[in-house]
Amino acid sequence: MREVHCDKIIKAVKEIAIKANYELPQDVVYAFQSAVEKEESPIGKEVLKQILLNAQTAKEEQMAYCQDTGVAVLFVEIGQDVHVVGGSLVDALNEGIRQAYTEGYLRASMVYDPVFERKNTKDNTPAVIHFFIVPGDKIRITFAPKGAGSENTSRLAMLKPADGWEGVKRFVLETVKLAGPNACPPLTVGVGIGGNFEYCALLSKKALLRKTGERSKDPVARRIEEELIEDINKLGLGPMGFGGTVTAVDVRVELYPCHIASLPVAVNVQCHASRHAEVEL
């Protein structure tokens, strides 16, 4: 069985966590460049240009693109034929995050107790980690820090099957409208439909990991994505909510079978700091 040592995992996580916070992915930058052309509002265009300049400056000066360097979210795909040695995998992942945030000048935003004391953990751990077992003997780690401005506007609804597509669409549009400027548009909207309560939330977050403009391979999901992006951009929110025609640069939908009595929908709202970086070990 192929072995991967924890030290290698720590180093890799540290690297992708710093990189993701300093450098916006190219597909996201391209999306904003084409949004400058599409945007009809003058102030909207101006905001988009500032966003692009911010991305360029952050990369050049190796600084955090946004001061909210987020909850550290890790998606870890573990090949069923790989063996982790040298310690605990969860500890290694958190150690990589700790090193990235303390040594990479990233903001520590996590508090131990969510309700009462709310004392900062000082190193942005613990991470939120999602594990998936996949075929093969590799470990693939995706880091996607998520700021609270947009995460706080995300919503989930357990709709009735009778609500159908109209109900789903209304819920998505309502969520985006309510999120408005608080979520720092232009947005990427991740939608999970189906599964159950917790699984549709995960699907909506997972949808955000796809590249901007990469449509779903599922023809139904693809049709929904195209319809939603058109309608979301008719809401008029525009860049930073100052009014405009580019409210979202992308909508990605993930579908999953569900119970005969259910129609779960989750909308994960992503701000313009659509940061992620991957590594394969």
Binding site: S41, Q50, I51, T57, L173, G236, L237, F242
Partner: protein, 185 residues
């Protein structure tokens, strides 16, 4: 039209500001977000004074990243303002004149702005590296244990903001959205 303003702000300056005005702020401003607001307002309700004199001042809702060696401050963009709405009135009562953040304010805060003659400025969320360039000095003045949430006194030069809510009830987000909305839900 771009207006260059200097803190502290007076009632006369506030009266001249209208929703959508582009403003370049200059002078000292103070940082505070969720945890610092909670402490300041608790202090006020216990009969103590907050760590700085609010009169004519502007609070910037921000929790910066740590500075690299040689930097004044790290990335420093605005955080969502509405989370602070619960704490606004006691500060306005002490003379606070401006707040900088991102996103909507509640109807209640919009009313308070009229009552106490203050404005809410929006900065562009997420352009944290660019905004940091307008910050020329930064000094923690209170609640150091809160880390990024400590109260800092910043000296800013031409810090770019937009008047989002004025004392006349205007709302830059509502007005902007209405201009471009093709569907209503």
């Amino acid at each position: 039209m771009e207006k260059r303003l200097f803190t502290p702000l007076t009632d006369q300056v506030i009266e001249e500001l209208r929703v959508g005005d582009k403003v370049l702020l200059n002078g000292y401003i103070y940082t505070a977000r969720d945890a610092a607001h909670k402490r300041m307002v608790e202090a006020i309700s216990n009969g103590d004074m907050p760590p700085f004199d609010m009169k004519g001042q502007v609070i910037y809702y921000v929790g910066p990243t740590p500075p690299k060696p040689g930097q004044v401050i790290g990335s420093a963009g605005p955080t969502t303002a509405i989370r602070m709405d619960k704490y606004v009135e006691p500060l306005l009562k002490l003379g606070l004149k401006g707040m900088i953040g991102k996103g909507y304010r509640s109807t209640q805060v919009k009313e308070l702005l009229k009552k106490y003659k203050a404005v809410y400025f929006a900065a562009v969320g997420g352009v944290a590296v660019l905004l940091a360039k307008s910050i020329k000095s930064s000094e923690v003045i209170a609640y150091e244990d809160l880390g990024t949430e400590a109260i800092r006194r910043l000296y800013v030069e031409d810090f770019p903001v937009i008047v989002a809510n004025d004392i006349y009830g205007g709302d830059v987000f509502e007005e902007g959205r209405r201009k471009f909305a093709r569907i209503e839900i």
